[in-house]
């Protein structure tokens, strides 16, 4: 486990994930205290868990935020793949599935 933690700077991952703004109000996950946990689960693999201000937050926003978290975190040195899990949302499973499928290499148009 110690070799994993030396390869990935968890603080940098947290900073990258926390820098993602809400598309509507333009405040970041960090500012809104919505970032819950960053976990290095394997060599180069990271899991980020977050929630939103309301469990009824419109799913398009939730998906946009989650995918941008993935994109930013996967740019952190040492990170090979990032899985993003939303919790405390009434359709958390559906949102997490859409957040984690496909590529996230291009910056989104809403930024």
């Amino acid at each position: 486990m110690s070799s994993i933690s030396t390869q990935i700077d968890v603080a940098a991952v947290r900073e990258a994930a926390g820098s993602v703004p809400d598309p509507e109000i333009r405040r970041t996950l960090g500012e809104l205290d919505l970032l819950d946990e960053v976990e290095v689960v394997a060599d180069g693999d990271v899991v980020v868990r977050y929630h939103l201000t309301s469990p009824l937050c419109p799913s398009p926003f939730a998906i946009q935020i989650g995918r941008e978290v993935r994109r930013r975190v996967e740019l952190v040195p040492g990170v090979r793949a990032c899985r993003v899990d939303i919790h405390d949302h009434f359709i958390a499973a559906d949102i997490s599935q859409q957040v984690n499928e496909g590529d996230v290499t291009e910056p989104p148009s809403w930024l």
């Binding site: 109000i25 333009r26 405040r27 201000t53 309301s54 469990p55 009824l56 937050c57 405390d88």
Partner: protein, 293 residues
């Protein structure tokens, strides 16, 4: 006495005109007011908006919806009949607007201006002149305290007009006024609704300032003294400072709105976390029978 009718002519062979008709219909798609476009006078009004406004759809919806109300409340369902009466006696146009105002006595000046927007434009485009002045002197004028009129003008002008601050800062006194039947500005900063012509890379467009923006403009012009048609609506020497202050005020307003949004979302979220998700407590066995016959 009949008046001359100077209204846009719809030529079905004119590509732009046909596009304008289609755009007007698209703006009202799915709305009850769509059927009003079957009236040539209403279609002509919508067509003018499509052709001269940069983002016309909201204006088409506002204009036709208020004509729809006017048709029911003042024309008693006979808009062509009222138009014919106005063409025979132009004073009927202003009388009809007064009837609208009396029907909505008690509304603020801004609310009344919104209701009269479509009817005034409709009469005008149909070639029957009406008075482009407020129908009500109610309490619609509520200046923001401690905010200079130039700042208020910039802040309020961008709301709903579709024009940017830079575009509005280039507008001259002679570019603001009422419209004639052909959709050209008749300079008069007192006009209500107040149309302004502005330019972008595609050429000249028209828009309307809100009632509140017009009030800010009148306050500003009153403080500046006499002006000529080539003078900027907002003098250049004041514009940069006003723009900076307007941006700061705008950011503060957006920030305050965001704070409210976040607070409401958190409160709503906390409620449903405690109560359960919507429907979580619904039990069909205990629901009143009439809700699920």
């Amino acid at each position: 006495m009949a008046v001359s009718v100077d209204q846009p002519v719809l030529d079905p062979l004119d590509r732009d005109a046909v596009d304008g008709v289609e755009a007007a219909h698209l703006a009202l798609r799915g709305r009850r007011e769509l059927q009003l476009l079957e009236d040539p006078s209403v279609l002509a009004m919508a067509q003018l908006l499509v052709e001269r406004w940069r983002d016309a759809a909201p204006w088409v919806r506002a204009a036709v919806a208020t004509v729809d109300r006017f048709a029911r409340e003042v024309a008693l369902g006979d808009l062509p009949g009222l138009l014919a009466a106005g063409r025979a006696d132009p004073a009927e146009a202003d009388r009809s607007l007064q009837r609208l105002a009396r029907r909505h006595d008690g509304l603020s000046a801004g609310q009344m201006a919104s209701l009269a927007f479509g009817p005034k434009l409709w009469w005008t485009v149909a070639g029957v002149p009406v008075t482009w002045l407020p129908l009500s002197q109610g309490d619609g004028h509520r200046p923001l305290p401690s905010v200079q009129s130039g700042v208020r003008l910039l802040l309020l002008s961008v709301i709903g007009s579709g024009a940017t601050q830079d575009e509005l800062r280039a507008v001259r006194v002679g570019d603001a006024g009422s419209l004639n039947a052909a959709g050209r500005i008749v300079p008069d900063v007192q006009a209500e609704p107040l149309a302004v012509a502005y330019r972008d890379v595609d050429g000249e467009h028209l828009t309307f300032l809100s009632y509140e923006a017009r009030q800010a403009l009148l306050d500003l012009r009153a403080s500046l003294g006499p002006s000529g048609p080539d003078d900027l609506l907002l003098p250049a020497k004041d514009a940069a400072e006003a723009s900076t202050a307007a941006l700061a005020a705008g950011s503060a307003l957006v920030g305050a709105g965001n704070d409210v949004n976040v607070t409401l979302c958190r409160a709503t979220g906390d409620f449903f976390r405690a109560w359960g998700m919507p429907g979580a407590r619904f039990d069909i066995r205990t629901a009143p029978a009439e809700e699920h016959p």
